[in-house]
Amino acid sequence: MEAIQKLQMKGVTRRFGAATALDHFDLEIAGGSFVSLLGPSGCGKTTALNCLAGLLELSEGEIILNGRAIQHLPAEKRGFGMVFQNYALFPHLTAFRNVVYGLELRRVNREERARRVKKALEIVHLEAFEKRYPAQLSGGQQQRLALARTIVLEPGLLLLDEPLSNLDANLRNEMRIEIKRIHDELGLTTLYVTHDQSEALSLSDLVVVMRLGHIEQLGTPQEIYTRPRSLYVANFMGYANQLPVTVVENSNQECVVRTAAGDELRGVSTVEGSRAWQPGQQVLASFRPDETRSDFKDSGNRLRGKVRLVEYLGKAYEALVDLGKGGQQLLVHSPVALDSGAEIEFGIARARLLLFPPENATPASSAAMAPRAEESAIEGRR
């Protein structure tokens, strides 16, 4: 297999009838890196993956592997490997025969085939199951078999299409670590498609947040997590609180805003053009519930409210807090138990209060689709 030095997708567009699933998509993948495409269903991430794999023809654009255009090559000639969401194991073949499938097609000799299949099954810890049929394996084992079947060919690029979405939570964490381990062990260039932000953050070198067929933001997991550049990305990264505020003062370093209740807050903005914000402008202050603090001595930002609902998340309590005037409700984390109905004060660091211009056309799906590290019933109720 041709190793990847550089893989580029340039202006890749795919239309289905009148609908454009992928719109001038540009991405550069460096050899050996782990890249995630992150977004809700319908954002075009699977389309991008299938275009790259060769399973979908492009409407426009090109795919360049090490300087050579490959968009006209059929899937079987690209030398990429893919793990499908439902694994797509061959039910009529044993685990061994599933893994040896690609080697047989490549006319690898018998001893070498046996050796490589054995090694691949060892990597995924399935060496004892080579005689089983896929239906006789558990979900996690099937997942690992699908992985073994692909990595045995040492593909130039490993494509993973939501590989963990059919597994239960425990297994999901386990397999996530497995995928990371296999990636590091084999140094396979990997493109990972997911709608789960925690998977994307924990696995990737580069995260590509997608929306409606284009790239909304591209960066390291740290950049995406701490400095989302739009409300959409912030939503996706668990910035569940959005408070309408008015700009009071806008300096180079930070921005002073006022809430409807009259509290003054200081925050920063990651949005292009935020320097030009004038006093009086309406913006949204956004922050993560788990970044609120009860010790607000040096944070500067202080908010008060009445606790409406409390939920225990394990490592913290999450409270739905009513700010009173203006009717705003926010989610706040607290290390200690809170009583429903109690008046509390909480703080948020200036650097962690992000300001965004209100989006005119916030897609209805974005809020509903925003997954968070901790599932929360309150969040769902909002």
């Binding site: 089983r132 049929y133 494509l159």
Partner: protein
């Protein structure tokens, strides 16, 4: 709370209503299958004058080399066309599944002959395949032939007729069966380096095999009992003197018991083939496709 006892109390009633609902179907089976079968079996044990029980109808059949030969003829008529039809339909169904253009239109055109009766097909065949038909004229014009070939009123005529009539059924059956195979299976095969034919032989064909075998059984039984096509475009007195024609001859001679015996022999032979195929199918399915029960 209240739902629990009532469901357990309702259980026998469900069985009764289920039985009641299946009664019409049961009646149909009794009236249309069990009764005629017993009646026919009984009849086949009588002599032509009504005396019996006797095995004379069977012994006379199996002692006459010409009659035994109808068994061979029936197989040489039914088997090749069944195999040919499946060999054509299987790849065709696979390629229709790939999402070709005008898929719907092509499918309609392919299954349209189903709406034509045997007689219409035979008439059309006279036009196309007769000595002065378009097919022969075309081959003559292309200088591929020096004199017209005889395609009607012989073995070939029956084969063509049965193919035209059986094709839509087999094609539809296979398209239906293949569409139940997860398309990701083919994508996975291609991602592992298989081209479209390798994918067909290694994945789609083995996964379709149970469906192909059922289609084979149904098509074979239909072809084994060929009568009208044989009469219209075959050679019922000679080369294609199949079992149903033999039974019809006995029937025409007012020898009902003999005719019934022949049709029962036919039925047993069909059953043997079907049982053989279904046994093979069960063996394949047990061996792989379903792959036993799902692991814990």
């Amino acid at each position: 709370m209240a739902a629990l006892p009532s469901t357990s109390a309702r259980r026998p009633r469900i069985a009764w209503s289920a039985l009641l609902l299946s009664l019409p179907a049961l009646l149909v089976v009794l009236v249309l299958f069990i009764y005629p079968f017993i009646f026919g079996f009984n009849l086949s044990l009588q002599d032509v004058d009504g005396s019996g029980p006797t095995l004379v109808n069977y012994s006379s059949f199996f002692s006459d080399p010409a009659q035994i030969d109808t068994i061979r003829i029936t197989f040489t008529v039914a088997l090749p066309v069944t195999i040919f039809t499946l060999a054509i339909c299987t790849p065709l169904a696979y390629f229709m599944r790939q999402g070709v253009k005008f898929e719907r239109l092509i499918t309609i055109l392919l299954i349209l002959p189903m709406t034509l009766g045997t007689v219409m097909v035979a008439q059309a065949m006279e036009r196309y395949f007769g000595p002065v038909g378009w097919f022969n004229q075309l081959l003559l014009w292309l200088h591929l032939l020096s004199s017209p070939i005889n395609m009607l009123h012989n073995w070939l005529g029956v084969e063509i007729g049965l193919f035209i009539l059986g094709f839509p059924f087999v094609f539809l059956l296979l398209v239906g069966y293949m569409s139940s195979i997860n398309p990701d299976m083919e994508k996975a095969s291609r991602m592992l380096g298989a081209n479209i034919w390798q994918t067909f032989w290694r994945v789609v064909f083995p996964l379709s095999l149970p469906g192909i075998m059922v289609a084979f059984c149904l098509n074979f039984v239909a072809n084994f009992g060929v009568f009208a096509t044989d009469q219209l475009v075959g050679d019922p007195a000679g080369a294609t003197h199949v079992l149903s024609v033999a039974a019809y001859d006995a029937f025409s001679n007012n020898n009902w018991p003999q005719a019934t015996a022949i049709s029962l022999i036919m039925g047993v032979l069909e059953l043997l083939v079907v049982v053989l195929i279904l046994w093979l199918r069960g063996w394949i399915v047990r061996g792989s496709v379903i792959g036993g029960v799902k692991g814990a």
